[in-house]
Symmetry: C2
Subunit: 315 residues, 2 copies
Amino acid sequence: VILVVTLNPALDVTHHVARVDWAGVNRPERVLVRPGGKGINVARTLRALRADVQVMGMTGGVTGDAVRAALVASEVPAAFTGIAGQTRRTFAVVDSERRVTALFNEPGPRISAAEYQGFRAQYAAALPGCAAVVLTGSLPPGLPDDCYAELAGLAAQAGRPALLDADGAALRRGAAGRPAVVKPNLAELERAVGRPLTSGYDPVLVVGAARELMSAGAQAVVVSLAADGLLAVTAEGIWRAATRGRGTGNPTGAGDAVMAALAHGLVLRLPWAERLRRAAALGAAAVAAPVAGEFLAADYHREMARVRVSRREET
Amino acid sequence: VILVVTLNPALDVTHHVARVDWAGVNRPERVLVRPGGKGINVARTLRALRADVQVMGMTGGVTGDAVRAALVASEVPAAFTGIAGQTRRTFAVVDSERRVTALFNEPGPRISAAEYQGFRAQYAAALPGCAAVVLTGSLPPGLPDDCYAELAGLAAQAGRPALLDADGAALRRGAAGRPAVVKPNLAELERAVGRPLTSGYDPVLVVGAARELMSAGAQAVVVSLAADGLLAVTAEGIWRAATRGRGTGNPTGAGDAVMAALAHGLVLRLPWAERLRRAAALGAAAVAAPVAGEFLAADYHREMARVRVSRREET
């Protein structure tokens, strides 16, 4: 089973409005409510891949109840540690005429030291029974920046590979826990190393930044390049998985689909070239799906045929 | 006890954002969650006036649980009929820099005929024990337009006065239930009679429209004129309660404060002039408060001294 850790899950509420009046009263035509956050998207994608998955994290309040109930309904196994605070909401307002979406992400409940220790004990107890761990998403207020380093370290001690997707200090510090894979996008990698990388893609700079995360402890770094696919820097070499332009779609959740495929490929012990092909294809298929954590099998298979994987000369 | 009926209560979520990006990701600085809807605002104001109050209505799902829990916490007595659907949310985005607020009001859950009958039985059983009934707010999907007419009619049969605040067909049809008072604002009155009233205030036209609602069954009509106060057309005559410009503030909930004062004045058997003085003053005080359903006693007393009540010649 793949353990997916989501420390700051959310109840995602989406309002579809024909044309938003940003200074007035709007009556949404369609209201969607679903559990969200990166971990839950990864878990949903893993389930769609028919992988064994188990979600862990912390939930509280009526929004936490709603997240739990929805996961039961969608048959994603989850075991949450209860907290006193209220699980956060995210609000998305989709303006269908102008084709823009505004997102409002609540920070999440403050976690006490005792609550985090309760979660950590539950997590440590689950490690021996799992094949790999996915650590993904923002940290709720109250958790230290090295939280992912500690959770990845516990996984390493138990002999279980951890895959990490985080941002800012949580990513920078998380590498110290020796995760098997970290998966930043270009903007996250830029923030982690503190050097500009997003103005014109320069593979030499990106590989250099990835190596910096490896010096900090990461065993491999897979950089997602949005519509251009993936670049992987590993102990066995450097790979590029190029996709053929993703067209229009919903980029939210594409990174989570890549993460799910990387975790699945790791557990299946696929060679890097094949892991990356599947991850790049699944990321492209996820962009074509309207909802994060979902994709059409036909899109996935079409993209599989389109991905070009190449091993790079060392730079 | 004053029975306040809220058929479509809401969980009001407010996000305060420094400067909203309508096409991007926002992180609210402040998140407020509270039970809302006109009925709950009226009940909260009645409690602040130290009136005995009891909220009735229908709630469901985790948002319904949140509404119930918050009313318990704020000591507003409430007895809700459970429904299968989910109580609606309203979402407000306050842009603090631009000083604009966008509101997103979900329509509410569809009510089945059996659920409404369950509510109606509970309501009918509560009527003998109450002094007056407040019927206020939108009707959730599934309820007929003449729903308020029926509920006001049941109150009349039980010898209890009903006060009605509704819009569109619910107001137009509701008058047939012979409510003691209906309280439209100018725009609502305009929609009820289907003639323009909001382009320049003309008392003759407004009194004419109010009389039309009285012909349909209403025993008195109190029209709220926003910053200008109230105009009341009753069997005993016509009154005007003029306020002295309300300045800036939050008009949401001012109408609910007026409704609360009208219900309280009716139960206390105050003469119309005094009822209207209090209602106009409380409406003005509510505008000065940042949150619907609240006001400062100092503001209320100051406004009481400012209101000018005059009896009008018949027009």
